[in-house]
Homo-oligomer: 216 residues x 2
């Protein structure tokens, strides 16, 4: 997470790389900057990772592993309400994307990877995003009536995930749009509650009347 002198050179480089890649992107980052922050020699990148590209992939994967471990989904048993599961899922998602005062460099790095997909993106989807998405789909299945089509469930899942991710990728815009006080009031708790309320309300109403009939 942060660089200490106790870490090995390889670990220090991976961490420093993640931080700088997150801030400036792949092309905007130089291996000299990374090694300077890591307190290592330039040749160490070649020695430990082969080249800059493989160091990047390693940094992205490590950042992702850390984020997942840091904010795991709570354990559910057979008695857990589906509504509670959805609230937990959303709260965890928002926390992963918006922990602490602002977004950490972990999620910034992930976001960059999604906006500018490299080799790391496909593997990330397969190993982590897809399982998470399946969990959400299962929760939505429990919350909806039987006859709701899979297409609709998927779109609903996208609506929920979209709301959560918005607060990360649109952060600079939100900052410009709101006053300082308004911005600071957007804490994880309030956002999670709103997204859960909003989504649950929509699910319940749509489930009751499959086509609510928007004016159009």
């Amino acid at each position: 997470m942060s660089i200490t002198e106790h870490d090995t050179t390889k670990e220090r480089i991976t961490t420093a790389a993640g931080e700088i890649f997150a801030e400036r992107g792949f092309d905007g980052t130089t291996v000299r900057d990374i090694c300077q922050r890591a307190g290592a020699n330039i040749a160490a990148v070649n020695y430990y990772f082969g080249d800059k590209q493989r160091l990047y992939v390693e940094a992205v994967c490590q950042a992702h592993r850390w984020r997942m471990e840091q904010f795991p989904l709570p354990a559910w048993d057979g008695n857990t309400l589906s509504e509670t599961k959805l609230a937990d899922f959303i709260a965890t998602f928002v926390r992963r994307v918006r922990s602490g005062p602002g977004a950490t460099w972990h999620s910034k790095l992930m976001m960059r990877e999604m906006a500018n997909p490299t080799a790391a993106c496909a593997e990330l989807v397969q190993s982590s995003i897809r399982p998470q998405f399946e969990i959400l789909l299962q929760i939505l299945r429990e919350l909806s009536s039987e006859e709701v089509a899979l297409d609709t469930l998927r779109l609903t899942a996208f609506s929920i995930v979209g709301q959560c991710l918005f607060y990360h990728f649109a952060d600079p815009v939100i900052r410009n749009l709101l006053s300082d006080d308004e911005y600071k009031s957007l804490d994880v708790e309030q956002l999670s509650t709103h997204i859960t309320d909003f989504s649950l309300a929509a699910i319940r109403r749509l489930s009751r009347a499959p086509r609510a009939g928007a004016a159009r």
Copy 2:
């Protein structure tokens, strides 16, 4: 929009720059590539724009102007239903972000600017994003009961905008998540309809019972 031999050298460069900046970002783009696609000499960048940075700002602003002109909000009169306005707003938003088979380079460029804000970002928020946001807030005011707080309206607006933008910035992930047929079925019409239905259902239910009481 696309480069033709009838355009002036300056116009061809601006367009080519927008396309390549959108695809590879500022640092990943070389002025040599831009000038090659524009069929111009390298020195033309310095001659017309001064340097690469000012060419970038010009390209971003032009792309934004084009996108707005290409997909304007429809004209509403006093009789237009608020529900219709919301549907129009969402459909226009989705179209701007996802016109044609995929996202055009216009919106890609805008997204990059939001993810990696430069000088162009703040001005963009002031001149365009804020007015659009106010329009959405006004629509939501009309749709909600009097006692709904401004904070709630804002969060609702974020929920709607987040759903729309999701299909742009998460596009590579969606592609990996769905099969080809499923992905191709996500046309602008279906997405707009779903987001409108979903949001309208949530607004109506939340407006009826301000705290729907999510389990948590």
